[in-house]
Symmetry: C2
Subunit: 269 residues, 2 copies
């Protein structure tokens, strides 16, 4: 059988780990692919772990026991976190992003895989230790971000819908009060989408007063499940009274300045 | 300044490449991070390229010229393609997935990052050479798959909405006829979301008669843009007369068998 060099094994193992964040991979997988002893693979992994740690690119955790192995988690340096927040502020301050009603057009950012990947890496760091079962979001703009966070945390994504669909089977629907507008809104989730007694985090693009987040907390109660954390890209701090606390954001939006651009600053979490 | 070993550089370069598919990365980025000569980095990349090719894990292309560099594209072996199609058929044949109206419940698959990543890798292979500008989908179930394909192709995702939203500015809306049900439906896209004259692919979870795909083609005409390819996870072949041709799928659905499970087979593309 073919033998591989250490360089070759390191490249291939890194690729496999990076594409399966937070999934436990048994070392036997690698001994089979590379026709190598477990001790050899362990040495490879020590080298990968050390350099990823040193450059703040990620961590590799060892899980002992019969169902053990290694698992990769992404990491982001303080420097890269700050760079991302400043970059987002810079882009979203562009004057032609202001939409009548003092909204900021940010759809292009929310659907840009490079930006979404960076933002998800930052948000997922805060939830890595929580051992959650699901990442929950509500359609539509936050879906790519929530998907990427779910992938990084190695869990299933759940998308709460504004309507209910015939293709999802029986659903649970609730009405909730939007935090700001005092409008009654509806959200629904397929009965079979979530196990009872689950731990979740809620990810969204934007938080105003937190009405949607509160609605999600109420909806998940119908599944005996709870929201352990909330993460958003942009926190609208014009709304001082929030309906939820304990959430994190990447940047803060504080209204429109006299010169007609958005007032945005990096969040300190 | 610190020096890094070849092993260390290979691990870090692989991680950086794999997380930025289809993005041209100038070698100067790596010479700076690792304080190494360009020739040394080039040798590292040859090693990474060879092993990724050998194991069918990916390709690294060299782009020459002033704005040149290297770019990574994922790859999937025939074996892994077949394995994914068979796995999907196996999972979706579970009898309790049949929903009144002869729908298959597949939301959990469409929101499972591991499955989505594998399916997107297979679909993106067919579109890698097209030099597209955008991946287009329509809300909601196909969004994670379309996002992952967009990420792998290194382009922006565009999500067409069923309604129009105040936070997206002026929109273009069209009505279209659903292929099967003869219902009139609406879809809309923000005017600023797409540059005129763009080349796109359309990605969705499921194709029945192709009414939605035809609607997308019509909607994009309003942006002087065209759909160069269509990819779906499941093709419903009960509908023999399709409104579009030239699309690819991963598996085919041919109705419900007498024993009450879905009839599913891998597609040959």
């Amino acid at each position: 059988m073919e033998k591989f060099s250490r360089n070759q094994r390191i490249a291939a193992i890194t690729k496999i780990l990076v594409e399966s964040p937070n999934k436990i991979i048994n070392l036997n997988n690698f001994t089979e692919i590379f026709n190598a002893a477990k001790s050899t693979i362990s040495e490879d992994i020590v080298i990968i772990r050390d350099i990823l740690n040193k450059l703040k690119l990620g961590n590799i955790e060892t899980i002992s026991g019969a169902s053990g192995g290694i698992k990769y988690a992404c990491d982001v340096s303080e420097d890269d976190k700050n760079k991302l927040a400043r970059e987002l502020c810079f882009i979203l301050k562009e004057k032609d992003r202001i939409i009548p009603g003092n909204f900021i057009y940010m759809t292009d950012i929310m659907y840009n895989p490079v930006m979404v990947h960076k933002a998800a890496a930052v948000l997922s760091l805060s939830f890595n230790k929580l051992s959650i079962d699901y990442v929950v979001t509500v359609e539509t703009k936050g879906i790519p971000l929530a998907y990427e966070v779910a992938k990084m945390l190695g869990v299933q994504l759940i998308i709460v819908r504004r309507d209910s669909r015939v293709t999802e089977g029986p659903t649970v629907s609730i009405n909730y009060l939007s935090g700001s507008g005092k409008r009654i809104q509806n959200m629904s989730l397929s009965r079979r989408s979530m196990k009872r007694g689950s731990k979740c985090i809620f990810i969204d693009d934007f938080m105003k007063a937190g009405g949607t987040a509160l609605g999600i907390i109420d909806l998940l109660k119908e599944f005996d499940s709870e929201v352990l954390g909330i993460g958003v890209l942009v926190d609208n701090v014009e709304n001082k009274r929030k309906l939820v606390n304990n959430y994190i954001s990447i940047i803060k939006f504080n209204g429109i300045s006299d010169d007609g651009s958005a007032i945005l600053i990096p969040s300190e979490n």
